[in-house]
């Protein structure tokens, strides 16, 4: 829902929204890089890269919408806490970095 005016003069939710968007950009960079590597090193890396790009693009759009939605939450005096989003991003980053680590170790060993 589009807000008619900003809730907080310190622009807290805008800064938080930008933090989400920067995180999504970082995800896009890692995803594109992983996809590029997948083309030459390991096909599984390419699949992970494409998945990371798709999820990061979705996160970017969500972050923009979430910024608008937060105005309603804050005006209602409710907490903006969002454990599901934090858990999804935390577990997603853990799975992606874990898989990249395992694949890179496997590639190093297979090269001898």
């Amino acid at each position: 829902m589009r807000p008619e005016e900003v809730f907080d003069p310190l622009l807290q939710q805008e800064r938080t929204s930008l933090a989400w968007e920067r995180t999504a950009f970082a995800g896009l960079v890692v995803g594109l890089f992983t996809t590029r590597l997948g083309a030459t090193m390991h096909l599984a890396l390419g699949a992970i890269g494409i998945a990371v790009v798709c999820v990061s693009a979705g996160l970017l759009v969500w972050a923009g919408r979430h910024y608008d939605d937060l105005h309603v939450t804050l005006r209602a005096g409710e907490s903006p806490v969002h454990p599901a989003a934090a858990m999804a991003v935390g577990i997603g980053a853990t799975v992606v970095t874990g898989l990249a680590t395992v694949l890179m170790i496997a590639a190093a060993f297979s090269d001898g």
Partner: protein, 135 residues
Amino acid sequence: MSDTDGPKRARTIGLRPHRRLIPPDPRSVGHDPDYRFTLANERTFLAWIRTSLALAAGGLGAASLLDDFSGGELLGIGLLVLSFVTAALSYRRWALTETAMRLERTLPPSRLPLALAIGIAIVVVAAAVLVAVNA
């Protein structure tokens, strides 16, 4: 959180192993803190995730771009391991901090900044040694 006898901060001691890494939903205890604190905690969590992603990009870059450099893969794997550890602990850090805020306890300190600094220092020193050996 039932450990009210210990120091007044959020702790994971006594929780089952997976709960130590993924603590319970902070909303299950206490009351809503000032929204600015919640948003600041969220931004800090996101900064940790970006740090992890930057390390992953560095690790993948080292492993692939330093192809003709012996030990490049090792540097890449080192950075990727640091990236994984950072990502794996970031939600835990967020949840413990949010829980402490909700219980009006002092925020739990983190060893992650020091551990990460030491880890990156080791990788950089190893990179310097490898550059000297490869020269």
